[in-house]
Structures are given as C-alpha cells and as structure tokens.
C-alpha cells in the first residue's frame, strides 16, 4: 500500500478550491497552508503563458522530515501516508529544514508542526481527502500507487509525469502531469515583480531580487504563499557558543595529552567555557522550541534516526565530561588535590573529552546534513569545518583568558596557533565552498546570495575580512605578542558570528516551492 496523489496540471484552473477545502477541513490558521496553488507567468506578450502548480507534502517514500524529527511526531504509516501527531511535537522546526518542499509549518494555534497528512482521518473512514472531493476539474487523483490497477497508478504509468525536487532522492509520491518545469522548480521562477492578486512576503521579495530571471522564459512566480525562515539568531548564536566551548576543550584536552601546560586556563577556563557553552546552547535550543515545555520529549520519545536526538545526547555527554574536568580543575586550583595526583585522571579523561568536544561542535554538521531541504548545508565537510572553526574560536577565546593568566610560550603557541590556523583554514574552506561549484541550483543560488547578494557585505567584510584580520593578529600573537593575539581572538568570535548568521539565513532563503 502506497498512497499518493497525481495532480493533473493539464486541467487545473488555478481556482484555489483545494486550498480552501483543506483549510476548512483542518481549520488551518490564517496565513498558513497545507496545500496551495502557485502561479508562474512566462514569456512576452502575446507569446506568454501562465501555469499553475498545486503544492503540498509529497508523502515521500524516504521522508527526511520523519528522519530528522527528534520525537517521532512525524511518522510514515503502513499505507505510505506521512502523518504527524501534534501531541508529540516539541516545535523544533527541524522537519521544516528537512523538507525540500516547504510543506511543513508550525501551526499558530497549537505551536506544533503540521502539514498535509492526506486527510488520514478521512482515509481511515474510506473517504477521499477534502481537496480531491472539491476539485471542480477532478485534477487531483488519489489512490494506491503500489496497485498497478488503480486509477492513479495507470494515470502515472501511462503519462509523462514529473515530481518536485527529484534530486533530493526523497521518493516523492505526488506526481504532476503536464506541469511546467518553472512551476516545479522555484529557482527557475523568482517572485520578482509582485504577485497577480496578493503580495510576496518581504522576505521572498528580497531573496527574489537577488535571483536571476531565466533569459529565455522570463519565468516569474506570480502567486505563492509565504514560508518564513524557521531558524534565526538563536541557532546562529548557539553555533558560536558551542564552537567556543568545544574549541576551548579541544585545546585543553590536546594540551593535556601533549603535556603543554595551560594551568588554570586548561583546568578552569576551558571547561567553564565548555560547560557554559553547552548550557547556553541548551538554553537557546529550548528557547527556540515552539513548545519549550516539552523539551524533555527528546529523551522520553526519542527518534534514533534524528541528529537532533543524538545532538542532545552529545550535549549531555559533553556537559558531563566538561563538568567533571571543571570539578577536577577546581579541586586542583583550590588545593584540595595535588596536581600530580590529578594529572593521570586528566589524561584519562582527555581522550573522551576531546571526542566529546569534537562531537559537541561537529554534530550540527550531521544535523544540518539531515536538513535535506537546505542544499547549502549539505557539504560533506561541514563536520570538519565546524571542528576547524571550534579550534579557531576556542584558541581565540583562551588567548583572551591568557591575558589574565600566566602562560608559557608553548601554551601561547598552541592557543595562537589554533586561532591562526583554525581561522585561516576556515577562510580557505569558505573560499572553496562559496566560489566553487555547487551540486544543485538551490545551493548555488544560496551561495550567490552570500557572495553577491543580500549577504555579500556581511560575508565579505564580517565573515571573511574580519577572519583574515583575526588570523593575521593571531599570527602576531603566535610570534609572541599576546595582546595582539588576544585582540585577534576577540575578532575571531565576531567573524564567526557574522559568518554563521549568513550561513544559517542563506541556507533557508532559497524558496522550495
């Protein structure tokens, strides 16, 4: 059993009946849609065309939203319907990042994720979904795609069909007949020049202004719905707090393993940064939930395929190990235990703490990779890039602390070297990342926004320029001028924040519908 839709754009008249029938069936709040109709105009009078596209959840065979959901609030039924349970949802919005179709929203009434669920409550009673019932031209077909004799299976088998975003490999179960390419591929039809009888939301309009029109088709999206960016400054900020805390611990553990004396910086400052970084990260994560009071569902209703769940585990383990490190450090500094007595314990803890630190900063790479809807975030090097960033800002942070402590040359070299090399490698990775080829048009469009579009100033001056200065100052620090290095360390923090703000926003900017 594999339920699916076939949408016949050859007969769709763009009347929005499906949209409104769906809204009344599910009492969807104003401004939000489970299905909607998009218009695309192309060409020059009198050789111009208008095409429609009925947009909705694709009930993917391999649904990224189901994989990324930390609490199994989204799930695939036996009959193929990708359904959701608002009672399990914590409102983390990761499903919205996982979906390559802009199909999911956070319901304004329940503050939980919602989307087309195939009217599963009706299907369970043997009734068609509401949109199918209402359609004046019977342009929406429904049925079992796995039954070769079903009407929908024959329709799909006998006709040329298309799916949205096939490159995402999600196995969409919504098939389009007679649809125009520009309708299904939002990058091909920017929402430039206004809508036919509504207005693009400001975000969509700003992004569209940076997107090139197809020189042949001149395709423009002339009606669509708004899809606000799910993640904002909190996610940007916790990428930095994690990197700083984890980076500090990476360096403290390395110093311990290589016998480089960091003193109080290694025993107190680094683990304190590590613990604080995770604590602030955790707080920001919970704050960013639309149902923060349900945060513990991640652990009580866990989904082992979700990197949001594993991230929580990583943060928990990291917090515990960094906390022990900190307690051990306090014991030494307070004179409760002799340093030599504690040293083997530090060494013993160093490897697990090092791995934990790498994961604390780097797991987000796997989470972002799971955000199948965001091609900019799909770099396979993202984990390593995050680790590199952590070294840079961790080194920078500890260099600032070193101003107030007593570090020897090797320690200074470690910290300033980490800052210099971490930030330098980060910059090199950025240059390769953004100026290189991208696998998909969505990713290259996002990269274009970063390098030439609305984020260019922030990216080049804040993300790159400031980082280069930080690396140079770090190198001067490495050469022995601690104060300069520390200033570089501070600038590195700002540079990373600038960059992450661009990375997080641009990744979510390219329209998916």
């Amino acid at each position: 059993m594999r339920y699916g839709f076939a949408i016949d754009q050859r007969t769709c008249i763009g009347c929005h009946a499906c949209t409104v029938a769906c809204k009344t069936e599910h009492e969807v709040p104003v401004g939000q849609f489970r299905t909607w109709v998009k218009y695309v105009d192309q060409g020059t009078f009198p050789s111009n065309t208008r095409d429609f596209g009925v947009m909705r959840c694709n009930h993917c065979t391999d649904a990224p939203c189901v994989r990324i959901c930390p609490t199994k609030a989204l799930f695939t039924r036996e009959d193929g319907i990708v359904d959701f349970d608002r009672d399990r949802c914590i409102g983390c919005k990761s499903c919205m990042q996982g979906c390559p179709y802009d199909a999911i929203y956070i319901d304004d009434d329940t503050h939980t994720a919602a989307k087309c669920n195939f009217c599963a409550h009706r299907v369970d009673e043997g009734l068609e979904p509401a949109c199918v019932v209402v359609c004046p031209t019977h342009s929406i077909w429904v049925g079992d795609l796995s039954d070769p004799n079903s009407g929908i299976a024959r329709l799909v088998a006998d006709n040329p069909v298309q799916v949205r975003a096939p490159e995402q490999g999600t196995g969409p179960n919504v098939f389009y007949l007679g649809s125009d390419r520009a309708v299904l591929d939002p990058v091909s039809a920017p929402a430039q020049g206004g809508y036919i009888y509504s207005t693009p939301d400001p975000h969509r309009a700003e992004v569209a202004a940076d997107m090139p029109l197809d020189p042949v088709t001149q395709a423009r999206t002339t009606l669509d719905t708004a899809h606000p960016r799910p993640w904002g400054w909190r996610v940007t900020t916790y990428l930095w707090t994690k990197a700083l805390g984890a980076g500090a611990m990476l360096l403290a553990t390395l110093a311990q393993l290589f016998g480089i004396p960091l003193g109080g910086i290694g025993m107190i400052v680094a683990p304190a940064l590590g613990v604080a970084g995770i604590a602030i990260t955790g707080a920001l994560l919970v704050w960013d939930l639309k149902r923060p009071e349900r945060f513990y569902y991640i652990l009580t209703k866990p989904n082992p395929t979700s990197w949001l769940f594993w991230g929580s585990v990583v943060l928990g383990v990291g917090a515990a190990l960094f906390g022990i490190w900190l307690l051990m450090g306090i014991a030494v500094v307070a004179g409760l235990v002799a340093p030599a007595t504690m040293s083997p314990w530090f060494t013993g803890l160093a490897i697990p703490a090092f791995l934990a630190a790498a994961m604390v900063t780097g797991y987000t790479g796997f989470l972002f990779n799971q955000a199948e809807g965001r091609d900019l975030w799909q770099s396979p090097l993202l984990f390593w890039h995050l680790v590199v960033q952590a070294f840079g800002v961790g080194g920078g942070g500890l260099l600032v602390a070193a101003l107030f402590g007593d570090v020897d040359e090797t320690a200074l070299a470690l910290l300033a070297g980490a800052l210099t090399l971490g930030i330098a490698v980060h910059v090199v990775m950025l240059v390769f990342e953004y100026l290189g080829q991208h696998e998909t048009r969505q990713a290259s469009t996002a990269a274009h926004l970063v390098t030439h579009g609305r984020y260019a100033t922030t990216f080049w001056f804040g993300g790159i320029g400031l980082a280069v200065v930080a690396a140079v100052l770090g190198a001067i620090g490495w050469a022995g001028v601690l104060v300069v290095g520390a200033i570089g360390g501070l600038l590195a923090q700002a540079a990373l924040l600038f960059y992450e703000s661009v990375f997080v926003r641009a990744g979510q900017d390219v329209p998916l519908s």
Binding site: T11, T24, V133, S139, W141, S150, Y197
Partner: protein, 978 residues
C-alpha cells in the same frame, strides 16, 4: 437527434469507477445502499468522495485536529445551495449533532449541476457563517443617514413600520413608489410573486451593470437571453472571457469545459487579458476591447463565403424572407438568393478588417475561422459580460456570436449551444398572482424601449431629475454605492429623504450601501435560508433547493422550530418568511386582495409556512419529483430536504423542434402567409392578457413551410431573427441585422501618446465575488491586493515600474492605483480587478477583514467628493483568533466611484470599459484616493442619455412585448396612454 457523446474511454485518463456500477456483487442487490445513483458520486478504488446517503442523518467523522487520536463527532449531513455566485452549486453542510454548529460545507453529490464539486467560495461559506462581524439583529437608523448611529429594534417594529408605509402607498395609488432592488437574486420566482401580489411594478435588478448587453444580443435572435453551452460534448469551445475560472457558471462549466477538452475539443479564448482560462486555450486572441463583434462577423463571413454552413437549419429557422423583403426587395424570394445577399452583405468583414480592428495578427483570425468551420455542429460558446458589458454596442458581440452558432448549425445540438430557457426550470408556488397594470418609468423609461432589463444605473439620476420619488426602497444583497458606477451619486440619492423615503437594506453583512439605510435587516447566508433555483449549467435541467441546515437538523432531531430565526444566529432571518409576514402586515384583513397569496394551500385562511409553500411546489409543480420521492418512500418535500436537488430533464436538445401539445393548439390560428410573422400560431388574446416572462401573449408555436408545427422560438416570428423587426420598429432600422458598432473605447478614441489607455475594470478573480466575499477570511488571505495590470510596452512609454503609483483620470474624476507590469495583458489596455477597494466610514460597520477606514470630504465644493483611506486593512481583535493574524494591508481602490454612467443606448448596459488618461501620481496623491466631480457625472449622464431615441413602437407600445421583463404587466399596460 443523435447524441454525440464524447468517447468514454480516453486512453490517457483512466476513469474512476463509474457511479452507476453496482457497488455490491451481483446477486446481493438486496444489500445495495438506499437512494439513487447520484451524479456526483465517485470513487478512487476504495476511497469514496462522500459518505453514503444512508449515513447522512448520522455520520461519524473523526476529529481532524485530534488525529491520530480517534475522537469521533456525530454529524447530520444536510444539503443546501451555495450563495456566493450565480451558479448555485450544491453544498452539503456538516451539522454537529452536539451543538448544532456547522462544522464545514462540502459539495452535494446529488446536485446535477455541480456534481459534488465546488470552487473555493463554496467551502468558504463557513467563514461567512462564523464571521465575527456579521449583523445579528434588526437595526434602525437614529442619526443622519450615513452617520453610523443605530438602535436595535424588534422585527415586529420593523415589519409594522415598513408594512404600514407600503399599505399607505398602495391605498394612495402610489404603487410605483415601492421598489425592490436586488443584486444577486439567488432564487427564481419568489420576488415576482410578492411584487405581483402587491400589484407593484417595483422590480429592479443589477442586470444593467452585468448582462444587459449579452441579453439584448441574444434576445433579438430567439427571445431567450442566455447561452447554455454543452461544453462537455463540444468539438470547439469558444469563450469570450474567463469562463473557466470566474464566469457564469464557473464550477459547473469548468468541469464540463475540461471534460470537453480532454475528449479532444479545441478551446478558443478571446480576452485582452491572460486569464486562467486563456492560459488553457489552444488559441488565445487578445483583441482590442470592443472589436470582438468584428472578429465574429469575420468568422461568419468566412463561413458564408466558403458555404460551410448548415443550409437546412438556416432555411427552416432564419426569418430570411423578412431579411430579403426589407433589405433586398428586388431579389427573388428564394433561400439561395438570401444566402447570396447575406454573403455579399457581410463580405466586408474580411480577416484583414477584423485584424485591423482587433489589432491581432490576421493569421489568428483565419485560424479561428477555420477552426470554427470544422466544428461539425459542435460549437459551444459563451459570452455573458466582458465585451458585451464593456462596450457601447457590445450587445452586437453576443448577436454576432449567435450568428456564428446558427451558421454552423450548432444551436441546440449535442456539443453545441442552447438557449438558457431550454435548460432552466422555474416552478411557482400556489395561486400565482395575475399580471399587474402598472408601468414604472424609473426602471422602464421611454428612452430605452429595448433595454434588458431595468435601467437601474440611472436611478439616482432619474431621482435627481425628479422624474419620480421612492417611498419604500428595498436593497437586497445589493450594494450599488460600491458595485455600480457613479457611487457618489448613489450616496447623494440615498442620503436624501425627499427622494428615498425609507431605505430597507436586507443583507447578512455591512456594506457601503447598508450604511445609507434606515433599516438594516439581517438575512441568512447560504445555509440559513430557503430558495429554489435552476440554472442552465449543461444540456439538462434541474431544480435546486436551498435550506436552512440548522433548522432542518433541529426538526429532524425533534426540536420545535417556529421560524428560521429560531435556528439562525442572533435574530437573523430569511427573506421568504419575511415577505410572507410583511405581506400579511400590508393587508392584515385581506381587503387589499394581497393576503390571499400568502395563505396556506393546506389550511385555508391561515398564514402559509415555508414548509407548506415548498411542499406545494414540490408536490404539484416539479415533473417527476413525486414519483422519485415515492420510489424512496419519501414525500416530495422530504426528498428535497434529503437531496437538495432533483434532475428534471437530461440530454435536452433542439427544443425549437418540439411539438406543441394538441391541447394548446385548440383555437390557435397561424398568422397569414406573406406577413412578417407568417405561420406564427396564436390563440386569441386581449389587452388584459398577461404575456409570459419572454414571448408574446397567445403565441405558442410556428407552422413551417413544410406544414410541420413546432414550438419554435420566442420572437415575434417564432424564428431566429436575422432581421429584427423590433429593432426597426423601435427606432433603429440600421441595426436590424447583426453588425459591428465601434465601441466608445475603439482605437480611434484612444490617444496613446497623450497618455490614454483602455481600462478593463471588471475582471474577476476565481476566489472572490463582488462585495459579498469580504467576510470570508480563507478567500481574503489568498486574494488581497489590487494592482493595475499594465503591459511592459505601456509601462516603458509611461516610465513606470511595478509598484509605482499612477493617477488614472476618467470623465468624472480620477483614482490612484499601484502598477503591476505584466505580459498578461495586451498593450494599450490596462486592467484592475473588480473586487477590491472596500471601505467603511465607521469602524464597526464594514468588514475589517477586507476594508479600510475612509474619510469622504468635499475639497472643491459640495459637488466634489474625495474618498481617502485613513488606514489599510489591519489585524483586529475578535472571537476569532485569525483576525489578529491578518497580514495583508491593501484594501484596494474603489475605481467604480470614478466612472460616470455610460448606458448603452440600445440595451441600457452600463459600458464598463473606460477611456482613462494615465499619469504618474501627483505629490499629494495617496494610494486609493478617488476624486469625483458629481456635476461632471450629471453631464456624462446627459451626454449618454442624448444618444438614445425616445420612441414607441407600433400601436404605441413602450417596448416589444416579447422581450424579457420581470413582473410583466398586462399587454394593454405596454401601450402609452393616448
């Protein structure tokens, strides 16, 4: 007739399981579901579109929001009819048995027109029911008209006051001071009943802002005033304007147009705008507005020149002998001579001429002609408003279209186009009152003897001219201050108590017009009232029944209901019961002879109830219904309450050829040979005879040259009048035949270099309907901006880009709009959709979902009016949390205020297209500004009035007797007093 049905095996599109297929294995018929197969039933394998009828009284559905938890709710499924446009599609209300709330509305699978499907406006009905701003109690004005001061009154107080005024008017022989002005009727026959019973000629309509042009063009051919295209079976579908997404009857027609197209029909769309319909066209022509008749006549000329015509049909049905006699008296009276002369008379309409007039490539005209020529009697076509409603002489567009239909032999054929009357069915209630003997010159003035129908746009000017005054004026689902041209003149007229004594607004919601009423009486939305209606959605005939679903549910649950107010929110009522009650108050003792028409047919002398009224109709006036009901063990009324609709006929074609029943022929004599109406079969009549709604009193058919006698058409000749004697006799002999009249916005009238453009102010969106959808949040969130469509060529010439403010000046004022540069409209033409520009003078009196607060001032003297927004659409607090989520801000531009009245001198149609001059907005201009000089609007009125020829026809007749006229008086009343 051979029924040319489309192939039912379209290889590319597997059909779903047919509804007529048994749903149980053979031999188990006893277990079959009760009821009859419904036209809208459908299955996708084991999924069905509606619960079986057997479950409709008790249907359990799981809560969509609690899902996947199974939380059951019990519903009663009660059919009713949508009221959001003229289509009257079926709805099925889900009434919660716990609290009797209406959970949602789906389509009604039993409805033969809509077949269980709807457009967006159908399901959005639930928004209107739940609208937190609806009017719940009768209100009476306490301050100045328009000042926004109201007090709540009882229905009794309102009824006594209004009934008393009407009684006095009747007693004092001031019948013509009572007027009922209806926007969307949404019903058939009821208004006629109470007006005829009162003996007042007080029907007024919205027709001449809508369809007067198309009506005249079609009426002149055959008497019927609307097309009924059989799209599903067509070979060529020719649409003037956007019938696939907005027209009459959008949802029923869209279904069938797409069926026809899937079966291989070619779709041709003529529209200066890239509509959704045009986007589906095989051939899209975007002509200069007003040139459409030239295009159609070029097709006709091509058909005649190449003799790709249906000779037999034309010989039998054209009044070609009159054509020859009047235009070519020298020619031999033979059909071949007629064809030769006809061909010669239309030879000037070459493709090149049409291409020049229309400013489209000549190849497209030729392609269209050749396509139409190959239609094989299966040309389904539709024009209703658009070109006919836009242009001076626009009625010739519809007339030319029917010329083409006739030449191709596509009238009344399968896949062709029938007149509406064949596919429409109006049953009347018990004891229909006879014809009255009044003539209201406010609605039927001498200047417009051929108008179709009432000259409603001129009412404020006639009042200002002191032609007459009104004592009681009902506006019902009617908002002329907004919808009509020259709204400031309406505002002035309605504000003047010496001209309008008492204005009663019957409306579910606030409107710009209700603001200027003395009483605002809340009437129910679609699922809160009774009506019957029937529309020509396809080659069949059906009767729909609108009913107050909560009331029906209460009665089924055994709860006592006095009248519909007991079931509706607040004190909201329904018109039918209101008219019953009001008529009794006008004539409490029956002495005026009015009350008798509102007495029960079952309980003599008692007031009729709605149940009894419809019970009587369904038992006595709907052929086949009693038998169908009996087959299911139901009374006719129970059947209609169960199904909400009944099919009265199917596969109806060629009704011109139907035989006149022998009983009717008794005493009938044919008009003499050689006369213009030779062969017309007539029964004796007098001046007291009542002509039918369309047609002449006594005329029942026509005897043909071959001796056959058939019903024929409703014209004086009972033929298709290629030469209209009525046009000749009422002052316009030069337009006695189909022709092309250059529009008031023809190319030569428009000076592009001076900044002129043609403005199309009438196009509609698939989601909105006039001013009645403002209270539907799910529609507003989709369609909520009002840009001026402007081609890039014009934008470059004017140096404007998308988002720029421009000022468009008309003959009487100007307005300020925002530009949207698009390729979706032809150059030289700009367009602004019809729906937006809603405003309110007082905060709580108007839909805040859609309107902006305005100030109306007189900056340049008392004759000048400036409407300016104080703010846009904003979120507001109400019982509905969604009202806080309004994200849209644009209330739009109320362009109609700046249009002077432009009545077409023949049909009376307001010619909507505007010659405008565009300039960039001036420094003090603000978005949405509308400025008008009402002195200019008076001048424009007089300029257009001067185009008419005030006349009477033979025998002093005010207008041709056969022309459609609501509440037709006796024949004698047609004559002007000697």
């Amino acid at each position: 007739m051979t029924d040319i049905a489309p192939s039912d095996s379209i290889p590319t599109r597997p059909s779903t399981q047919p509804t007529t297929e048994p749903r149980v294995p053979p031999g188990q018929e006893a277990e079959a579901e009760p009821g009859h197969p419904m036209p809208g039933e459908r299955r996708h394998e084991h999924l069905r579109n509606y619960p079986p009828v057997s479950d409709w009284d008790h249907h359990v559905e799981y809560d969509a929001k609690a899902h996947p938890r199974k939380v059951p709710h019990s519903y009663m499924l009660i059919p009713t009819t949508c009221f959001n446009c003229e289509s009257a599609c079926g709805l099925l209300a889900y009434v919660d048995k716990e609290d009797l709330s209406i959970k949602k509305l789906e389509g009604n699978p039993a409805h033969p027109g809509s077949r269980g499907r709807n457009c967006a406006k159908g399901p959005a009905t639930v928004n209107q029911i739940d609208d937190p701003e609806r009017i719940l109690h009768p209100l009476k004005r306490v301050g100045e008209r328009g000042a926004g001061q109201w007090e709540q009154v009882t229905w009794d107080e309102a009824l006594d006051d209004i009934g008393g005024r009407i009684r006095r008017a009747i007693l004092e022989d001031r019948h013509n001071e009572v007027m009922y002005h209806v926007g969307r009727p949404g019903e058939d026959g009821f208004a006629e009943r109470f007006l005829a019973a009162w003996g007042v000629d007080g029907h007024n309509s919205h027709t001449n802002v809508c369809s007067s042009g198309a009506r005249l063009g079609m009426t002149l051919w055959g008497g019927y005033d609307r097309p009924s295209p059989d799209h599903a079976n067509a070979k060529v579908i020719l649409l003037l304007s956007s019938h696939l997404e907005t027209g009459h009857y959008f949802n029923p027609h869209a279904q069938r147009i797409m069926e026809g197209k899937q079966a291989g029909a070619k779709l041709v769309v003529v529209d200066p705008r890239m509509s959704n319909t045009a986007s589906h066209a095989d051939l899209w022509l975007a002509p200069w507005p007003g040139s459409e008749a030239a295009i159609l006549l070029a097709i006709a000329s091509h058909l005649l020149r190449t003799r790709q015509i249906d000779r037999d049909y034309l010989r039998r049905w054209f009044n070609w002998k009159v054509y020859l006699a009047e235009l070519h008296p020298e020619a031999p009276v033979t059909f071949e001579a007629f064809l030769d002369r006809l061909e010669a008379d239309y030879a000037g309409y070459t493709p090149e001429f049409a291409a020049e007039e229309a400013q489209v490539p000549v190849e497209r005209i030729t392609a269209l002609s050749e396509l139409v020529a190959q239609c094989d009697h299966r040309l389904s076509a539709h024009v209703w408003r658009s070109a006919c409603a836009g242009n001076e002489g626009g009625w010739q567009v519809a007339r030319s279209l029917w010329f083409v239909l006739a030449l191709t032999g596509s009238i009344g054929t399968p896949g062709g186009t029938s007149p509406n009357g064949w596919d429409k069915f109006i049953p009347h209630g018990p004891g229909m009152p006879g014809a009255h003997e009044r003539w209201n010159e406010l609605t039927w003035p001498r200047e417009y003897p051929l108008s179709t129908n009432e000259m409603s746009i001129l009412l404020p000017h006639f009042l200002a001219d002191e032609r007459a005054k009104l004592d009681v004026y009902f506006s019902r689902v009617f908002n002329p201050v907004w919808t009509f041209p020259d709204g400031f003149s309406w505002m002035r007229a309605l504000s003047d108590e010496t001209k309008v004594g008492c204005h009663v607004a019957l409306t579910p919601t606030w409107s710009e017009t209700a603001e200027f009423a003395d009483y605002v009486l809340p009437m129910g939305h679609a699922p809160e009232r009774h009506d019957t209606h029937s529309y020509e959605t396809h080659a069949g005939r059906w009767l729909g029944f609108r009913q107050p679903v909560r009331r029906v549910a209460m009665e089924k649950l055994g709860q006592a209901v006095g009248d519909t107010r007991d079931a509706n929110p607040g004190e909201v009522w329904e018109e039918n019961e209101f008219w019953f009650e009001l008529s009794w108050r006008i004539d409490p003792d029956g002495s005026l002879g009015i009350r008798q028409y509102f007495e029960s047919p079952y309980r003599p002398g008692e007031k009729v109830t709605v149940d009894e009224y419809y019970r009587w109709i369904f038992e006595n006036r709907v052929p086949g219904l009693p038998a169908k009901a009996e087959a299911e063990g139901l009374t006719p009324l129970e059947y209609m309450r169960r199904y909400g609709a009944v099919e009265v006929g199917e596969s109806i074609y060629r009704q011109d050829e139907r035989h006149v029943p022998d009983d009717d022929l008794v005493g009938a004599e044919p008009d003499p040979a050689g006369s213009e109406t030779e062969g017309v079969l007539r029964t004796p009549t007098t001046d007291e005879s009542a002509p039918p709604l369309i047609g002449e009193a006594g005329a029942i058919g026509v005897r043909h040259d071959d001796g056959t006698e058939t019903a024929g058409w409703l014209t004086p000749s009972r033929k298709l009048e290629v030469y209209s004697t009525s046009m000749r006799d009422w002052g316009w002999p030069e337009h006695a035949t189909p022709g092309y009249i250059r529009s008031h916005v023809a190319q030569r009238e428009i000076d592009l270099d001076a900044g002129d453009l043609v403005l199309v102010p009438t196009f509609r969106l698939p989601t909105l309907i006039h001013t009645r959808s403002g209270n539907a949040k799910y529609l507003n969130e989709i369609s909520n901006s009002h840009p001026l469509w402007l081609n890039s060529v014009d934008a470059r010439r004017h140096g404007v880009v998308t988002g720029d403010l421009v000022r468009l000046s008309t003959a009487i004022g100007y307005f300020v709009v925002r530009v949207w540069v698009t390729e979706g409209i032809r150059p030289s033409v700009c367009a602004l959709s019809h729906h937006m520009g809603r405003w309110r003078l007082h905060d709580a009196e108007g839909s805040r979902w859609v309107s902006g607060l305005v100030d109306i001032t007189h900056p340049d003297g008392p004759e000048s009016f400036l409407l300016r927004y104080r703010g846009g659409v904003k979120p507001f607090t109400s019982d509905d949390p969604d009202s806080e989520r309004i994200w849209w801000t644009d209330p739009g531009v109320h362009q109609n205020l700046a249009f002077g009245v432009q009545p077409d001198p023949w049909s009376g149609m307001h010619c909507w297209l505007q010659k405008v001059r565009m300039e960039k907005a001036r420094p003090n201009d603000r978005y949405g500004d509308v400025w008008v000089d009402t002195a200019r609007s008076r001048e424009v009125y007089r300029e257009w009035l001067a185009k008419t020829r005030r006349t009477t026809g033979p025998g002093g007749m005010r207008r041709p007797e056969f022309l459609m006229r609501p509440i037709k008086p006796t024949r004698g009343t047609f004559r002007v007093e000697p």
